[in-house]
Symmetry: C2
Amino acid sequence: MNGADLICKTLIASGIEVCFANPGTSELHLVAGMERRADLRCVLGLFEGVVTGAADGYGRMTDKPAATLLHLGPGLGNGLANLHNARRAATPIVNIVGDHASHHLPFDAPLTSDIESLARPMSNWYGRVDSVHHIVPTVADACRAATSLPGIATLVVPAEVTWSDADPVQPPSIADIRPVSPSAPDADKERRAAALLRRGRSTALFLGGRALRQEALAHAAEIAGKTGASLLSPFANARMARGAGRPVVPRVAYATDRAVAQLQQFDAIVMIDARPPVAFFAHPGMPSQLLRGDCEVLELCEPGGDAAAALASLAEHFASTPFLLDPPPPPLVRTGQQDLSQGALTNEVLAELITRMLPDGAIVCDEALSSVPQLFAASHDAAPHDWLQITGGSIGIGIPLATGAAIACPDRKVITLQADGSGMYTLQGLWTQAHERLDAITIVLANRKYALLIDEMRRMGVKPPEHQVRSSFDLTDPVLDWVYLANGMGVEAVRVSSAKEFTNAFTVALMRRGPFLIEAVLA
Amino acid sequence: MNGADLICKTLIASGIEVCFANPGTSELHLVAGMERRADLRCVLGLFEGVVTGAADGYGRMTDKPAATLLHLGPGLGNGLANLHNARRAATPIVNIVGDHASHHLPFDAPLTSDIESLARPMSNWYGRVDSVHHIVPTVADACRAATSLPGIATLVVPAEVTWSDADPVQPPSIADIRPVSPSAPDADKERRAAALLRRGRSTALFLGGRALRQEALAHAAEIAGKTGASLLSPFANARMARGAGRPVVPRVAYATDRAVAQLQQFDAIVMIDARPPVAFFAHPGMPSQLLRGDCEVLELCEPGGDAAAALASLAEHFASTPFLLDPPPPPLVRTGQQDLSQGALTNEVLAELITRMLPDGAIVCDEALSSVPQLFAASHDAAPHDWLQITGGSIGIGIPLATGAAIACPDRKVITLQADGSGMYTLQGLWTQAHERLDAITIVLANRKYALLIDEMRRMGVKPPEHQVRSSFDLTDPVLDWVYLANGMGVEAVRVSSAKEFTNAFTVALMRRGPFLIEAVLA
């Protein structure tokens, strides 16, 4: 057994079942080690941003880490943007980066770089296997860190460790590696939260992270129904259980002025697995903090804590409290009333059509950005689904995230709402969807511009100068043809530009299995 | 005038004419500032790896920096791999990274990250504009550093600096910013080099960096012709003047064992703008250093020094020395003898066809990797051309490098030899080629696998296990269709799979202007 075999054995003992990989020469022994293990599925990405984004999607849907396999500093560099998103989503990932053999580093060969400096900003844990004799503890530590933080554990593996002979040490069993149980709910904070909620001032339960899963949400909805508190969530969330039968949780608005107005009403806010909301970007003369200055902030459950337990325990304080109104009946799944099939494909129509047609148990990967802003609100009474967002603002996550979610949940339909500009960053993920026969539908929302940036420019009052013949943010010269792009990577695709065409295409896509792309040209 | 205007004014005063950009909200004032200047050309890339790779190509062909414009830490992350290559090529680049407004950083908004930690490994210089009052000295310093090192100067610009009112300070004139003249040739080293060359032992002139430009090469060839020294260059070079009428300079082999054998003959080596050759990767039981242990190494001109002056000065020592043989006549441009048009499109045939058809003054961007290894040797007597390589081993440079070279040299034909696997990393560059109507031909060498890695696996003796149904490095399931991919980004393309088809396609591509892609399916 060589070091690579022992690394694979330790990963598997730690519960790792999937490795998303884009390896190079320095990782070949690891690849060979993985190929020798039928119980470690290796999924190839043609670009590292696909690899890290897929690991994010997998981790969000399974709550356990996938491994990645990246090629030295530059390969890590290509994967950083989606690691950034994954870190903001608190997704568990064991991010493995190969390095030159240690004895080769002093010679500064072409691919040498300071991997630690590159990795630290996007890692919650960093380690390096410094010897073949330290494989088991170091790899197990990385898995434990990724699972229990949860977050990004970057593990650097120098090549000589993988090719050296290794003693067949027994890795710790998965029971030793499972997440540390989050601390029990804090009784004092809980009493203060209950008191706040009884006081009758305008209060929000601010639900982030795992507070947006089904069980936690049910407790939150009960508390809200009995106290009059509002439910609210951050603008961007890793995974939210939504749809008919589930509570409706609005999100803080993206635009700073709208968010400030939205939060103005709250005298107090109880944070559950969330941080106080801040502006996405700074703007001249606008605040960074969005809550009212005198808003009382109580953190009931810290980020990464056991949100469901905290909310269940808080709900017990209100066990005998009656609902203020009869508990609202859970919304029914919206079905079509008005016939939309003859009209233009506007944002509103697309939002309504997707809402009506969304299949039960769908996983929605939302990188729609400025496209179809109506969709999130509209789909609160779609069939029950999970909604995954871009959490770190680093665009190019949609297709990779869907790829990982589809690997994690082969029996659920994955539907990606993909803005065209951001889709171009990691379009290579479509190949992996074809290669792995993933049941993923990508809806490209083709507005053919960086609409978000054009809007922001307009808000700044910038007018194009006379000499300028085209906008810096126009994507019409040439137009991107997503049908060709998808076909080029083996994914079937159609372009639609009317409500009827979209309905037909989405109907067919939902009936078949396997990857499919719909380029929706918006009116 | 706001800070963004003053930044643009300083860049322009420092000689910057082009900015390759992929900006976001935090860089919008800078974009608006650039749009107000007709004398600063802004070139949009749809992915940051395109932006940094294009800046590399531009810098290699002009010997002056382009600016980049990247969006915070994640945008920088996406650009790091090609910055790594550019740093290894000693290309001047003013790498501008926008950041949140300084007052917004403490709130850890979603896109916040440690930009300095990400930037340092791929930067020769790092700075941050800490106030609107320090714009001129800081930006000018960045431009001076990029030009004089030469290398990557990363300049972080917080958003509030760009939107604040700025005093219209006069930036230093370009004369103050031009590169520091490299130090004069070192007379002592020169005498020692001359003595070495006279000693009659087997000696190589090891030519890197700017020693591979036409003028320096002519001096080197004269010295070699009079002393019997060999000419040699590193495996990977930023830019090499080649073709008929120019000296033939072999490169050190990629494979460690072949490189060691190749360098075995040398008793001494004189380094001109180069570092001693080292193995690209470590392999079990193989050395990192490639020269014989007792090989005498003399550094005549340090990396970044004035290679042409050093070689001219050294050549004067041999002014009265006769050529050992009559100086060999410069090779003539190879023209077709044997009719190849009826055969299969093998590596050898493709190398011969490209050599015969290469137009005068072509710029060849070589990311062929394992494809067509015959081409470099074959093309020594092609029409005069410049040959640009991937210098840092970080794949995904070909299409971006060509994009920047074509912006730099609109009157020269740019021809990219692009392996298919690595082409997928930054294929988005094709859109910029179409958007800017660049005269660039991409030849995709479609072997439909990560051939380099498959070869390395074989060398390691790894056999696929029984349960494995396909190779980890096979790209045939599905096959990438480069004609669709190019068409999807507005670039015309054809697929060829015979010598005759290639000849026809390349003939047509050379006759027209504008981007074109040929997918060459190798026999």
